[in-house]
Amino acid sequence: MVRLFGPLVGLFFAVALLWSFGNGAYTAIKEPAPATAEHEFHLHPKDVKFASDGPFGKFDKQQLQRGFQVYKEVCSTCHSMRHVAFRDLAELGYSEAEVKAIAKQWGTKQPTFDEKTGERGERDNIPSDYIPVVYYAGQGVPPDLSLITKARHNGGAYVYSLLTGYQEQPAELLKKFPDAKTPDGLYYNPYFANLNLAMPQPIASDDQVAYADGTKATVDQMSKDVAAFLIWAAEPKQDKRKQTGWAVLGFLLAATVLAYLAKKNVWADKKAA
């Protein structure tokens, strides 16, 4: 039975596949897929190094603090960070009092609701609160930034490239794709998947933030710092993870060597294959 029906089933699938293949090949030759501006002008993130890169990488806390400052003063106007709590900022090297102060001074307050009177109000943030969600009224939907560097391929470099990638639409693009002109209210950026995004260049000029540690606040520096901060925000436990990893690998390596010697010892009197 199997030997009778097997080849028949095989032929059935084979012919159906050839049918699809033939039709597909015909279409591919007759009407090849048109080139698109996204396909030709989209760029992969720039090659940029972060202190936390690689198995030996560690966060540069000074840089994370600067990046947090950029987030607070620039990005947080529109972008939420709902998975990060104020208490988490202690990991950037802030003292307890500093964390308290940051929470207290945060622009968006925590909403309150009195169940007895039905009154709604506001109170200051405290360290155990999560960074309040921003309600954005403008055009577009600014994504939450807590996981952005994990939600994009090569996320840290992507954020840095996007922030420093704003430019005039290339003349070559317009010549080739006259319909692909950046619409009003959008901005051309080759690092963005469809080339035009609703966010105006957020970090536009040097010294947009005043760094407390004396680092020169160039556009490049600020972009890199905030990208580093967002890498931290997406996975604050990264340093701990790598540190644990080395201990685990060290142990496993020793255990595996012992296991190999044990295996050799056990098999010493028997020839295997």
Binding site: V2, R3, G6, P7, V9, G10, L11, F13, A14, V15, A16, L17, L18, W19, S20, F21, N23, G24, A25, A28, A33, P55, H83, D88, P143, S146, L147, K150, A151, R152, H153, G155, A193, A234, E235, P236, K237, K240, R241, K242, T244, G245, W246, V248, L249, L252, L253, A255, T256, A259, Y260, A262, K263, N265, V266, W267, K270, K271, A272, A273
Partner: protein
């Protein structure tokens, strides 16, 4: 069961003797994976993966049960509870990465285990039942992994669930009501997430049950071996313990080194970034791709792009995708060559290394690539070969092939000579 020369369990003290009389559990273990199970002495490292697969299942159950203590299967909070595990639960990040990468490790190990079965024809008599149960385990693993990937409720979770449950919609007449019934709604939502969580928790224990049957069935004929020549005598075997426990111990060490290197230094390398974006039914990702271990079958699904007579392309794709695995059930009867090991099958070997393996590699690559040319055409050719290999080539090869001479016994294959072979070949000389 087992061979006449198998060691017999002897309780080492009064307590064990007492236990052996009441509930002979130590005797059972001794006969299953101890010194009481004689195993061919010539097993190579390809025979390590069964034990490793068992290890992966235990790893997944242990990490999974703890994750379930912190996870909330509700569409409103599932994504946030996953992040809560990553950020606030003690060692939660390690548990979740261990579980997510553990699924990948499980599939790596099982694919190698299946590859071993293909090359050495482990599916042939008298081991058909072991193979059939193995395919059942693989299908259960796929279902479990798919439902597990939905639980974090990210973009790929949601859209993956939508695409895969949409496959049932391709079934004529009952398809659409069936899809709605399975999902508990018109699109994946809370009802779907809840039942997926429930089943994702249940199925691993079903897998454990089928594994017990798989091992039980294995112990009746005993393990196969790289020559494919059956065990004839005591000198062909060694006791499982300590010989193979020692060898599996080393294999486990190597496996853990690779697995932990990924877990601690590239934990997101095998996942898709989109799954760190919360599920949004209104925004379709540019490319919906399943986890890597489904890629070959996903490529087969997408290879059918044109309706075939009255059969819609989508239904053809669904039939082919399930058919691609179901065909494994028939392998013991499609491959009729009496020789098991690929080492002694020159023609089979050629089609295996230059046909099946490249076709699988192409399907794997194309399944992860976007659905555009040339990937679609490549996967059509590779799928064609895939079906032709199992259903047409294999039966023909096994009937026309002239196998190379087999060794008389495992002992001869290992030591170069076997006293009993000489006796058998020339009885007069004895």
């Amino acid at each position: 069961m087992s061979f006449a020369w198998a060691n017999e369990y002897k309780p080492s003290n009064g307590l064990m003797q007492w236990l052996d009389e009441k509930l002979p559990l130590p005797r059972f273990v001794y006969n299953a994976v101890g010194a009481g199970y004689p195993v061919p002495r010539n097993l190579n490292y390809m025979w390590n993966f069964g034990v490793l697969a068992g290890f992966c299942l235990v790893l997944q159950i242990v990490t999974g049960v703890i994750l379930a203590m912190h996870y909330a299967p509700n569409a409103l909070v599932a994504f946030d509870s996953t992040e809560h595990i990553m950020r606030d639960v003690n060692w939660g990040w390690m548990l979740r990465y261990a579980h997510a990468n553990g699924a990948s490790a499980f599939f790596v190990v099982v694919y190698l285990h299946i590859f071993r079965g293909f090359f050495y024809s482990s599916y042939k008599a008298p081991r058909e039942m072991i193979w059939l149960l193995g395919v059942v385990i693989f299908l259960l693993m796929m279902a479990t992994a798919f439902m597990g990937y939905v639980l974090p409720w990210g973009q790929m979770s949601f859209w993956g669930a939508k695409v895969i449950t949409g496959l049932f919609g391709a079934i004529p007449v009952v398809g659409e009501p069936l899809q709605v019934w399975l999902l508990g709604g018109f699109a994946p939502d809370n009802a779907a997430l809840n039942r997926f969580f429930s089943l994702h928790f249940l199925l691993p224990f079903v897998i454990a049950g089928v594994i017990i049957l798989h091992i039980w069935a294995l112990h009746i004929p005993g393990s196969s071996n790289p020559t494919g020549v059956e065990v004839k005598q005591e000198s062909d075997t060694v006791p499982f313990h300590p010989y193979y426990t020692a060898k599996d111990g080393f294999g486990l060490g190597v496996f853990l080194l690779i697995y932990c290197a990924v877990l601690f230094f590239a934990p997101n390398a095998l996942g898709h970034p989109d799954n760190y974006i919360p599920a949004n039914p209104l925004s379709t990702p540019a490319h919906i791709v399943p986890e890597w271990y489904f890629w070959p079958f996903y490529a087969i699904l997408r290879a059918f792009t044109y309706d075939f007579f009255f059969i819609p392309a989508k239904l053809m794709g669904v039939l082919a995708m399930f058919g691609a695995i179901l065909v494994w059930f028939f392998l013991p009867w499609l491959d009729t060559s009496p020789v098991r090991s690929g080492h002694y099958r020159p023609l089979f070997r050629k089609f295996f290394w230059f046909g099946l393996i490249p076709a699988m590699a192409v399907l794997f690559y194309c399944g992860g690539a976007p659905a555009q040319e040339p990937y679609v055409m490549l996967s059509q050719l590779a799928s064609l070969y895939y079906f032709a290999h199992f259903l047409i080539i294999l039966p023909i090869v096994s009937s026309i092939e002239k196998p190379e001479p087999l060794p008389f016994s495992i002992t001869e294959a290992v030591l170069g000579k076997d006293e009993s072979a000489v006796l058998n070949a020339n009885p007069a000389a004895a």
